[in-house]
């Protein structure tokens, strides 16, 4: 097989894996948008915050240590213990549930029946608040996140493909793990929302608040539930991105990449978020590989947005978005 084709195949595979990571972030957006019609700008920051908290708990960091030291003149930084990865993840999940409760109690509850744009603005505020709060709580330095996920080149794939084509594909173990986790997450979430009673209640709330109340659904419970699930998805995305590129504040910017993903997949579709992520991932890698050299590279920065723009023109509801049914 010609080298060019082999390269292209490897690029495609890597693009698929990168797409999974985009999809993980997009998934959090879709969940909240579906259930409450709110575009949650803070989703990316939630992933960052979850990753920061996870690292902090794992390494036994003292929260707010800078603040404490500045006020009391002490010099504490670490508790001096290490928490096992699994326990730390569970604790962080607990923190995200608590966060969901706080958001409902102190933000959403006061904005019931406000226009969507107000709620959107509130999530922007929330995003900046969380970014600052995360900084204050855990410090702004780049941290290494290691929860024991396999990393580095996958040897079996490398050897197998070498045996077949005489050229070994480089696939990162972490990307493979992320793919498996994403598939499980999506299947579980789809089943939950389609077939469980809470899932049905969740869709009901998304559709009509008044009707949902009249059949005995507590809106507050559903909101806490939705934000908890979104927090959990953010945690998973945070773990994957954090393991890949370290926990740093630019992590919150990956949320921006989720936007074109959502425009492609549709804001209301869980499978759409995945397919959208894959298309963007593969698309930008292949584009960079084929067209990049002709235009001087760095196409990955804008390709996704141009693709999204084209979709907005020809299919505004995205690939899997709900069709707009209107009776006249």
């Amino acid at each position: 097989m010609p080298d060019q084709l082999l390269f292209a195949m490897e690029v495609t595979l890597n693009g698929l894996m990168a797409g999974v990571l985009y999809a993980l972030v997009a998934l959090g957006f879709v969940l909240i948008f579906k259930a409450s019609g709110i575009f949650n700008y803070a989703q990316g920051v939630m992933a960052l915050f979850a990753a920061l908290t996870l690292v902090g708990i794992q390494d036994g960091q003292v929260p707010f240590s800078h603040l404490i030291n500045a006020i009391f003149g002490t010099d504490v930084h670490h508790f001096g213990w290490h928490v096992p990865a699994l326990l730390a993840i569970l604790l962080t999940a607990g923190v995200m549930v608590l966060f969901a409760w706080i958001v409902e109690r102190y933000v959403l509850r006061h904005l019931v029946n406000q226009p969507d744009i107000i709620l959107f603005m509130a999530t922007i505020g929330l995003a900046y608040f969380m970014e600052g709060f995360g900084d204050l709580m855990w410090g702004a330095d780049i941290k290494k996140l290691d929860v024991g996920l396999p990393q580095g080149i996958n040897i079996p794939i490398d050897e197998t493909t070498y045996g077949w084509f005489g050229y070994g594909f480089f696939i990162d173990n972490l990307d493979i793990t992320a793919t498996i986790v994403a598939v499980i997450l999506v299947v579980a979430l789809t089943l939950f929302s389609q077939y469980s009673k809470q899932g049905r209640a969740l869709r009901a709330v998304a559709d009509d608040h008044q009707a949902a109340l009249s059949v005995g659904i507590s809106l507050r419970f559903i909101w806490v539930l939705v934000w908890s699930i979104a927090g959990f998805v953010a945690l998973v995305a945070g773990i994957m991105w954090g393991s890949k590129s370290g926990v740093q504040f630019s992590l919150s910017l990956i949320a921006l990449k989720a936007l074109p993903v959502l425009m492609l997949g549709g804001f209301t579709s869980i499978p759409g978020a995945i397919v959208g992520g894959l298309i963007i991932g593969v698309g930008e890698k292949l584009f960079e590989f084929t067209i990049g050299p002709l235009v001087g590279g760095a196409t990955e920065n804008w390709f996704a947005y141009v693709l999204a723009l084209l979709f907005l023109v020809f299919r505004p509801q995205g690939l899997f978005g709900e069709k707009i049914i209107e009776r006249v």
Binding site: A188, L191, F192, Y195, S196, K197, Q198, G199, R200, A201, R203, A204, A206, D207, D208, Q210, A211, A212, L213, S214, V215, G216, I217, S218, L219, L225, E322, I325, R327
Partner: protein
């Protein structure tokens, strides 16, 4: 019919009407300076069809919203099943077995007819979130049980053929029927219908009347309804409350109300000579 007796009795057409199940005591509801309901008291007996009528803006829907917890009255008490009801959120009222429909249809447009009606069963489902998430035996058994109940309601209201259709695509009359189905699926103790026949043609109205009577007859469901069509109201209901400008001006059997001078003046039209 003597409305004062607390004992149950049997009507001419053989239905049993029991004691008082819900009692509104001196309800007053204000929106700012506007008095929507002014010191109104009435009761609803178990197994009866109770109508609330009155001209536009009389406060009928507000009264229904007070019963279902959407509005909180400034004064007065709501007694349900012999006890004073504390202030409740609408979803808590629903959990007590009070189901309702809305004047302007509130369905879940994006969901199928079946899913819409299934939401009516939510208050009857008892498996918790973790069992649901894992979909272990118990959650599945429960789902199937409730599905059976929902199918009964679907058969009863003759909407088998639109089971899988998204509600948003249905014509108005059918939407009204699906909304009734969702309320029925909850097996309510008290069913509140806010203008169940508004905007329907004669045929649809006849169908709906038949369903309301059948529900009351077969399941013994207590029904409180608001309706504009006087003919329908007089045919359906056992007792009627008449409201005008937020006040109660009449209460009794259809015949009593028909012959009440205040009601005739306010609602049925006064003869000017």
């Amino acid at each position: 019919m003597n409305t004062q007796t607390a004992e149950s009795f049997v009507t001419e057409d053989g239905r049993t009407i029991g004691g008082v199940v819900m009692e509104m005591k001196n309800i007053t509801l204000r929106f700012g300076g506007v008095v929507a309901i002014k010191d109104i008291s009435f009761d609803i007996r178990e197994g009866e069809i109770r109508a609330i009528i009155g001209p536009n803006g009389a406060g009928k829907s507000s009264m229904l919203n007070v019963i279902s917890g959407f509005y909180v009255p400034q004064e007065g008490e709501v007694w349900f099943k012999g006890g004073k009801r504390p202030q409740m959120k609408p979803y808590q009222v629903a959990q007590q077995g009070i189901a309702r429909t809305f004047q302007n249809i509130a369905l879940f447009d994006g969901m199928s007819v079946l899913d819409n009606i299934m939401t009516g069963r939510l208050t009857k489902m008892h498996t918790n979130m973790f069992q649901q998430a894992l979909w272990f035996g118990k959650a599945e058994r429960e789902e199937n049980q409730h599905r059976e109940q929902v199918e009964k309601v679907i058969d009863f209201l003759e909407i088998q053929n639109i089971r899988k259709t998204p509600v948003g695509r249905l014509p108005y009359g059918l939407k009204k029927r699906v909304e009734l189905a969702r309320a029925l699926a909850a097996e309510p103790n008290l069913l509140l219908l806010d203008e169940p026949m508004a905007g329907m043609n004669v045929e649809e109205k006849e169908d709906m009347s038949r369903f309301i009577l059948d529900v009351n007859d077969e399941f013994g469901t207590t029904i409180a309804l608001i309706e504009h069509d006087m003919g329908v109201v007089m045919d359906l209901s056992d007792r009627v409350v008449v409201m005008d400008y937020g006040k109660k001006i009449g209460d009794g059997t259809p015949d009593e109300v028909r012959n009440n001078q205040a009601v005739i003046d306010a609602y049925l039209g006064v003869a000017h000579d």
